[in-house]
Symmetry: C2
Subunit: 219 residues, 2 copies
């Protein structure tokens, strides 16, 4: 029975135990090779970026990275976890918390960033594959919810701020507005029948603003 260093149940949390374990024991034996971690993560992105829908299996990842399969499972609990780690490692984790003073403009920035970030050639295939994997991996599904929660929270903040400024109706359903934005994002990302660019983002920002404006207001 292999004793996984720390992340038995949840996140990998690699790179932290470079010197000593979280516990007192000073971690004897050979150290974790950071280059191997990088090789695996890079291999995942490389395989996922391949336009042809060639299946990205654990074996192909191991082969592409020049790594043993066990090395992967030593640090990540499942294939999906590797995918998600590769994505978060690669993606710009900076979520723009726009605060320009106008709801419409704030929305344009946040929605625009989300949309263009999602359809970027390096991330789009990763996201779709991730959803595919999450479909039959509850563990990964939970991790994806955490991943998306950050961006949802940013949008939520923008909307609540606007409500405080009086730019939103008192009874506006902020949760529904957030779902409209990300519902459209995932829907179009997965089905791919319509674009997901700044034009769409701006249009959505405008109609969302107009549709949830306070009563008896022209702007």
């Amino acid at each position: 029975m292999t004793t996984r260093p720390d992340s038995t149940t949840e996140e990998p949390d690699i790179g932290a135990g470079t010197d000593a374990d979280a516990a007192g024991r000073p971690h004897t034996g050979r150290r974790r090779n950071e280059q191997v971690r990088r090789a695996i993560l890079d291999a995942v992105m490389r395989l996922l970026a391949r336009a042809d829908g060639s299946p990205v299996t654990v074996d192909t990842i191991a082969k592409e990275a020049g790594v043993g399969k066990q090395t992967i499972y030593r640090w990540w609990p499942s294939k999906g976890a590797v995918f998600l780690d590769a994505l978060t490692d690669h993606a710009v984790t900076v979520v723009p918390d726009a605060d320009t003073g106008t709801l419409a403009h704030d929305l344009e920035i946040v929605i625009g960033a989300s949309y263009t970030g999602a359809v970027a050639p390096q991330t789009a295939p990763v996201l779709t594959t991730l959803v595919r994997e999450a479909a039959h991996d509850p563990h990964l599904a939970a991790m994806m919810r955490d991943f998306t929660a950050v961006r949802r929270a940013a949008l939520h903040a923008v909307l609540e701020r606007a409500r405080a400024r009086g730019e939103l109706a008192e009874d506006a359903d902020v949760e529904l507005m957030v779902d409209q934005v990300y519902g459209v994002l995932w829907y179009r990302l997965l089905v791919g029948h319509a674009p997901l660019d700044e034009t769409v983002a701006n249009r959505l920002a405008a109609t969302l603003t107009a549709g949830n404006a306070p009563k008896e207001s022209t702007t």
Copy 2:
């Protein structure tokens, strides 16, 4: 090599060849047993409706229906196809093409019907499982697109009619509005973090109407 009667590539199309094949040959031999078809479809719905997330495999379907596995594959090209057939067979195929004269009201009807229909206890688990299967079955994914296209078209018609009446801005993005409605539907259906009822439907109908109203108009 078994010769599938007709549906080698696409839809099952069962029950049609009761007397003679589409071709001239009068179909000798033992006939298709309609009760077996029913038993399979019912078994799928029964298994899918089970609240516990017990995996619905082809073997369990065959066992539940008291049927041989080959009998399933004789009439459906894949497991997903059986699921979809069970759904369309069960679901009310009548899509309400509301035409009350007001956009807001029309939307309430169409969106409300879609939302409540989707979360009905008998259909919700079927839909989510279907999407899960479609995630790694392109053939099923195509069938699902056909399935959803009908409802999308109904909503599209309502919106275009409203535009003709002058209830929508000339440059309103009808496609985006449709995606907002169904984006929210699938998003909430799959993540399950927020309700999908008439209240939400009415709220969405109202904000969609207000957000896409023609310029210089109060209503």
